[in-house]
Point group: C2
Chain length 245, copies 2
DNA sequence: CAAGTGAATTTGTATGATAAATGGGAGGCC
DNA sequence: GGCCTCCCATTTATCATACAAATTCACTTG
């Protein structure tokens, strides 16, 4: 009855590259974000997870520790691991955000990310205009060049992300850095949303250019307004794309 | 020569309640935030940490996993654990923020948190005015009552925190929830900063009241402005307190 | 009936062994 | 001599097992 087998490899599925504990964490994390395990409820104990995934308790524990570190759960001896209230979840964490996206209606997800960006990005642009170093200006310009030069879909997305991250870096406030992951998630999804945006792209370029100009000129209020114009335009793109569906 | 000892308890220091791996994570985390281990540099390997703290590799690994989950480090076989670039750090994580505060000049820390709040809280107030449910209004009012009634230092802080968290909750955007920890950290520190603020407190109360009124009335623009007024006043309090030092 | 006590369960930690990944060096080939 | 390939050492990744600690809960006992 004692299932003593000698170390099977890769019991979970998928192929390679990803560590076991990361796979376990992802699986559990997605199920929490997906609502299968609600805040306040108790998770299966470590042994059960081990059986479920056919991995050792060690791997499970490392996954649990990662989920705890992201604020999703909390563990206590004799009790088990309980799902934390949503207010504790680190939704701006790279992984958590990705799990959240997988578990959320596409349109609703985009709406909340856009709302988020509308709140913070104007402030970021304003700060950037006030604080940017010359090196940061160079990065911003380089990203803008990349946007102009972009041919493929991938290049378009990555240069756009680079632009916004350069802006973020130029704000020179470490506390704002976590927003980077959200920008990446949003833009990746956004462009995916609007593949035939050629007519929009020319305008988008101009809007980005306006932001860069204001930041370079050291005009905080101008930068804020230029960013607002961009986000507003992006909202429109989303609306059009949603209606087109 | 083989140091085989039978499980010592509590080898790190401190007293109780805190798990070993959490202690190890805190120690390493603080040293990373403190600049002892800079981004890109390699950490000692797991065995060395184990020797340093007199804990098993198991505990060390769980600490490492937690730090990875917070974006501070990344591990690779044969290489070791490397400190990630600051842009990857989850500075809005409860622990990371706390380590950051310990490692940062008090005034600079307050300045950057205030800057952060100035960017996001007006937007939060605006959203709250647009979205709040009646239950959320009740919470907001209750927090305000708490502020009026507060006698001790502790009550003052906790009711103020409750007010801002109620506002945050009323914004009804999950992505904003992580800001809660920052608000807690800031306010705790702020009040600590200005102990004899009795003359200011009357004004602060009024400013909070204005925010609540606008939110309850469903006046987004009013809520935004009221919040801006509060943050501006807080800035002044900081300036005064700093000069007074 | 109340309070304390002990057993059972679950996480926490320790230990030792093996597997996988990978960087770097040794050695061979052209 | 330069380049390529293969092997080896190091470090993390995973497994298995045992025991410690914490905490719940039922049960005993006064």
């Amino acid at each position: 009855m004692n299932g003593r087998k000698v170390q099977k490899r890769r019991p979970i599925g998928k192929s390679s590259g990803v560590k076991l504990h990361a796979e376990v964490a992802r699986n559990i994390g997605e199920r929490i974000l997906g609502g299968e395990f609600k805040p306040g409820s108790l998770l299966p104990n470590e042994a059960e997870w081990g059986a479920t995934f056919a991995v050792s308790r060690t791997a499970v524990r490392e996954a649990i520790k990662a989920l705890s570190a992201k604020g999703l759960i909390a563990s206590r001896p004799k009790v088990g691991s309980r799902v934390e209230p949503r207010s504790r979840w680190n939704l701006l964490d790279r992984d958590v955000l990705s799990w959240h996206r997988s578990a959320t209606d596409r349109k609703a997800f985009l709406a909340s990310t856009q709302e988020f960006r509308r709140i913070v990005e104007p402030g970021i642009a304003e700060l950037a205009a006030r604080r940017r170093t010359t090196a940061q200006i160079d990065q911003l310009v380089a990203a803008l060049e990349g946007m102009k030069r972009a041919k493929t879909h991938e290049e378009t997305v990555s240069s756009d992300v680079a632009f916004h991250e350069a802006l973020l870096a130029a704000s020179n406030n470490d506390l704002l850095m976590p927003f980077g992951v959200l920008i990446e998630e949003t833009l990746g999804n956004l462009f995916d949303f609007t593949t035939q945006r050629n007519k929009h792209y020319k305008l988008a370029l101009k809007l980005h250019e306006n932001i860069a100009k204001a930041v370079i000129a050291g005009d905080p209020e101008g930068a804020r307004k230029a960013m607002l114009a961009l986000i507003g335009d992006t909202d429109m793109v989303i609306a059009v794309a949603s209606k087109g569906k």
